[in-house]
């Protein structure tokens, strides 16, 4: 009888340890196993080139869009800016990188001006159509140019990739999540 009690206790302790090891879940969709985020180097809103891997050690939120976007990008960037503010001092270990799908209009300077409305630490990346198409392919991003009255628009992937400190593409947050969800997930990734 005593042996049985000990066995049950051992199983309970083991199960608890496993549960603790798994830890709390992310609000975002999680990749398993996480792969290394494809690296790229592109002209940036900082006036210099940006290389994704230069942010190893930080959590990176990688988003794709264009500065004339009226439906998705302003909301996403406002939410990311709010999340970074809510993180407080930990926000210094968060880097938002926003890659344009519209290089015709989005120069490095245009991206700097646009992103400054949300958070001056956000980095915008642009490049040639071929450079940007290669990055989109690596990340499975779709971007289709559509004619609209008075110009054009892009239908583009609206989610945000979460890249951990080790440069692994850990998770993907679909459009529509609140800043609190980003804060939750970034805080967890920063602890890893």
């Amino acid at each position: 009888m005593n042996r049985r009690v000990v066995l049950v206790l051992c199983l309970l302790v083991g199960a608890s340890a496993l549960g603790a090891a798994e830890g709390p879940e992310l609000k975002a969709g999680v990749f398993s196993p996480a792969r290394v985020a494809p690296d790229f180097t592109l002209p940036a809103s900082t006036g210099r080139a940006v290389t994704l891997s230069q942010y190893r050690g930080k959590v990176v939120l990688l988003s794709f869009g264009y500065t004339s976007c009226t439906e998705v990008c302003p909301i996403t960037l406002a939410v990311l800016a709010q999340a970074r503010r809510q993180l407080g001092p930990a926000g210094a270990d968060l880097q938002v990188v926003y890659v344009t799908v519209d290089p015709e209009h989005d120069t490095a300077e245009q991206m700097r001006r646009y992103l400054a409305h949300f958070d001056p630490t956000f980095v915008g990346a642009t490049g040639t159509p071929a450079q940007l198409a290669a990055v989109r392919k690596d990340y499975g991003i779709s971007a289709t140019r559509l004619p609209v009255p008075g110009g054009y628009a892009y239908a583009h992937s609206s989610y945000v990739y979460l890249i951990d400190r080790a440069g692994k593409l850990s998770a993907l947050m679909p459009f529509g999540h609140a800043a609190e969800d980003y804060v939750h997930d970034v805080a967890l990734l920063l602890k890893k």
Binding site: K27, F31, P33, R35, G140, S157, Y159
Partner: protein, 145 residues
């Protein structure tokens, strides 16, 4: 059965139906897993390249908050696949929890139509909502939930 026993039989039958409906309407929802899994089998890309029409996912996936609200996608194929909203490498899985009832539309190369729709229903509350949800789930899957 004699004519005198008919009213009793009818009453007992009605009581059973009412009890079953009450159970369906108020019993807690039970689910072994909250994951709804879909897999791209090995060789899918090769079969498509050979001209076969391969449809892996239903055009519409229905999830229910609190019951089955986690979409699990697994790529067993030898090539990367854009599966729902994500690019997945061979052998990789993607686990996406949903917290808001809504209809989500994603581009998806795993669908011949190129599009995948995920309808996330609100958690069915006890009462009529839970009863009708159970009836629909039973009709869809043939299983009690």
């Amino acid at each position: 059965m004699t004519a005198r026993r008919w009213p009793w039989a009818a009453a007992i039958g009605a009581a059973l139906v009412v009890t079953a409906a009450a159970l369906a309407a108020f019993a807690p929802l039970a689910s072994r897993s909250r994951e709804q899994a879909f897999e791209i089998p090995k060789g899918t890309w090769a079969r498509r390249m050979a001209g076969a029409k391969v449809e892996i996912l239903p055009a519409e996936i229905r999830l229910t908050l609190g019951v089955r609200d986690i979409l699990l996608l697994i790529n067993h194929d030898d090539v990367p696949q854009t599966f729902g909203p994500v690019l997945m490498m061979p052998g990789q899985s993607f686990r996406l929890p949903f917290a808001v009832a809504s209809t989500y539309t994603f581009a998806c190369t795993a669908h011949l139509s190129g599009q995948m729709t995920i309808v996330v229903d609100a958690e069915p509350l006890p009462g009529w909502a839970r009863l009708s949800w159970r009836v629909r789930a039973l009709a869809r899957s043939g299983r009690w939930a």
